[in-house]
Symmetry: C2
Subunit: 502 residues, 2 copies
């Protein structure tokens, strides 16, 4: 047993040397000031999260029919109880003399440590945990060493329980003795009041501070008002809001406004990379904008124009001296770093286009890099939906998908969405939903595919496919309109009769 | 990095030598036959579980008002999404020549490994995970090495998806390549049918068998019809049923009947130890019947009469050669072992009483040990309730608590349950619930305390405390009775009028 413990200690040492960018409950307080300073002095901050679950089950299907409110509602139903268990944060600092961004990367483990009546019940998804295990996620670090946090409601509850002294009624259950050097001693009547009058409410204050934990980082991000960068971060923002701030509002617009107040400058590298592809020459275009692929695209120096005075982006040496990126893939810290890296390269690309010849003559400033993508601010990608992105600073854009198609079965047969989905699967990605037992609506992912379907079914003997016109084709809408006419008609007649009887 | 991997390997080796009673996904198939044989040849099998959560929040409060159906409903609401993540099982085998029980102890790690559309979403409770971490629970073993399982519905789903070939439509997501030596190769059209005709559906069968995993152990326990022993196992039975069999029925009686069919001989050492205390001399009585305390009580040879030809209970040597029990406390395997140990000692105690002089002359048989506690079969302890135990083989017993008290406030004041709970807290453990705004019901844990309260409040100026008589005191019940009278009265009058009009 002693041998085992020794080996464990040695192993831990090796791991610790490798991973001083891992921020745990044990080193969080010691590292807090450094992190705070880096957040405050950063020109941009990138983030990434790993979740305890995310339902890939059929009920949570991204649909081409979805507008912003639909997608928000579907995710809200499914993420309410999932947690961010690992949070990556990288701060970037510009050195103009060296035309270089220096990055400080942090990987936080986060666990809802229970205290008093705050005892979080949360959901896990088997497939998500299995995915994390394939990325070598350390679940023991999560539970044993995760940093606590409190959302605003939990903070209120704990604060009032501390004031009422409830915490100390069940002290053994409530205080994690080994977490902190708190000496718990029973005091005789009166002594407590005396101690408090001498020390103020230091103990209460320290306990609150301890359990606020990662929430303090969240609040630093909010108060800093720095540009926040993520990759495809719509769900991240929802869970972040729910976990460290307050329950998600029912109303989508309220959510957008509140996020915009918390984080007024959000950038999504997924969204911006789509914008980049629009202006790139065909041979320069990226093949995939998955985060790692995009990072490799830029790391290999592709996209010719971006090479002029391209700023260097480097991890701060001491934080990752011996790191092998292979073992870091999908660790939130590393993913946040490469996301920020991509953002700066995208920024430089668009800045080169904006500043023209100037960009050939001198290194640009970090303000110039960031200003050049300012038009993309607060636009966050949505996957497989009717709209291409969510706009946190205003109205969402119109749909960028083809018009919905209507498939009708001829004759006396009925038709099912599944049947239509299977029939059209060979064309491209489609989603279907029934309109009635003879018609199915089809949302098609791209225009050429929609045209192809319309052409191929032009003289089909069993099905008729056409563009869908809601007011003409929907029996429900037609029904509503008719019943509206009838009701108002009825009201007129009723009024007429009443008049006659007067 | 290589150094780190080497250290990891060495550490794993040490751990493996220490813990061949740990049954993981990697050794489950290899050990299955041995476990099956031990289950089939056991005279008794003891079990214990560790859960991913159990709400200690106020909503899930054990109340002295609870009868069986109330408690079942409250737990059902709260456990539905919790999982057994570690399951302890010990089989006991009697050697009459040596008057000795030999125990084979197993500690299973269980994880809902996702496959095809089976992707379990489950709940965790922060305080439960923290409790497990204090017992050195290895969360990585749970996720990385947990054995899969399927309940009956999941098995049906997976079976039909295998038949339809759905599994192989998204093979990368669905098959955990590294879990098993399955070679996945894309076959050309027609080849699949050919392969199947040669090999039968071996692959489908093997995959199903692999993902059934721990469910096969559950089914062995069911089919063996052996006596199953646990300590305070009401919640264990509910989660076991829900996780490996089918969703908990809404109806409490249905649940009891189904459990009784699955496990017709259940013993609860918590319940039996209360029965033991009733017959022990005061100086021989145990001070606590928490599992570990009870184990120490028997291991120290206490309870004089049980010492005659007391059977030896030993763990099978090879399974635990170098074990330090201190590190095992609250590991499900160890807890299942000490639970079975206590059961056999309880059995021997009652057998000595039953067989009188015979027990002084010869070692008893294991049948005699178990028959002597047969009267306690299927009675399972319920904590802090109106009834002392649940009877799975018939009607639950009447309440063993004092009659409910009624606290009424005199004059024009109103009264709250909290106020009454706080006022009576100094007497003993009580639960309160409001009857109306001037009366509160009080369930009191013991008789002497109830008498004391009645005495002390005999001439109280503000409150009147009396025994509660539902039919006399409840306005709702009185209301229902009166409205019943009025309605039937009204019906009579109506009928009378109808008669007059005929």
């Amino acid at each position: 047993m002693i041998q085992l413990l020794k080996m464990n200690a040695i192993l831990e040492n090796i791991k610790n040397n490798l991973s001083n960018y891992h921020i745990l409950n044990s080193n969080f307080r010691e590292r807090y000031n450094e992190i705070e300073e880096n957040i405050k002095s950063a020109v941009v901050i990138s983030i990434d999260s790993e979740f305890s679950g995310l339902s890939f089950a059929s009920k949570f299907k991204n649909s081409l029919f979805h507008r912003g409110p639909d997608r928000y509602e579907v995710i809200k139903k499914n993420v309410d109880n999932f947690l961010i268990i690992e949070f990556g944060l990288t701060t970037f600092h510009f050195n103009r003399d060296e035309n270089k961004y220096e990055a400080h990367m942090y990987n936080f483990f986060i666990f809802p440590r229970p205290i008093a009546s705050v005892d979080t019940k949360f959901a896990c998804q088997a497939s998500s945990l299995q995915f994390l295990s394939k990325c070598s996620f350390d679940f023991n670090k999560f539970v044993y060493e995760g940093i606590p946090y409190l959302n605003e409601e939990q903070e209120r509850v704990l604060r009032s329980e501390l004031v009422e002294g409830k915490l100390f009624q069940q002290v053994e259950r409530n205080v994690a003795f080994d977490d902190e050097k708190i000496i718990v001693r029973k005091v005789v009547a009166g002594e407590r009041e005396e101690l408090i009058s001498i020390n103020g409410n230091y103990l209460e204050r320290d306990i609150l501070d301890y359990f606020l934990g990662f929430t303090k980082i969240f609040r630093l991000l909010v108060s800093s008002k720095k540009p926040i960068v993520g990759h495809n971060l719509f769900i991240d923002l929802m869970i972040l809001y729910n976990q460290f701030y307050e329950p998600l509002p029912d109303n989508y617009s309220v959510f957008k406004k509140k996020i915009n107040t918390l984080f007024p400058k959000i950038y999504d590298t997924k969204y911006i990379s789509y914008e980049l592809r629009k202006v790139l020459k065909k041979e320069d275009a990226w093949e995939s904008n998955m985060l790692l692929d995009l990072y490799n695209y830029f790391a290999e120096g592709r996209g010719r124009e971006s090479n002029l005075y391209r700023p260097d982006v480097k991890l701060w040496k001491q934080s990752v001296d011996q790191l092998d990126p292979d073992i870091l893939v999908h660790e939130a810290g590393w993913d946040s770093y490469i996301c920020g890296y991509c953002f700066l390269q995208l920024g430089h690309y668009f800045a080169s286009a904006t500043y023209g010849l100037d960009a050939y003559r001198r290194p640009l400033t970090s303000t110039e890099h960031i200003n050049s993508v300012a038009k993309f601010a607060n636009k966050v990608n949505v996957v497989r939906a009717s709209i291409g992105y969510v706009n946190f600073a205003g109205d969402d854009p119109p749909s960028n998908r083809p018009q919905i198609l209507l498939v009708k079965v001829k004759g006396n047969c009925s038709i099912s969405s599944l049947e239509v989905a299977e029939m059209l699967a060979k064309y491209c990605s489609v989603d279907t939903k029934p309109l009635n037992n003879k018609s199915v609506l089809v949302a098609v992912s791209n225009f050429s595919c929609a045209r192809q379907i319309l052409r191929d079914f032009l003289k089909h003997e069993k099905y008729r496919v056409s563009l869908y016109h809601p007011f003409r084709d929907s029996t429900i809408i037609r029904g509503v309109l008719w019943s509206g006419l009838l009701i108002s008609g009825g009201l007129c007649i009723g009024a007429f009769i009443q008049k006659l009887l007067k």
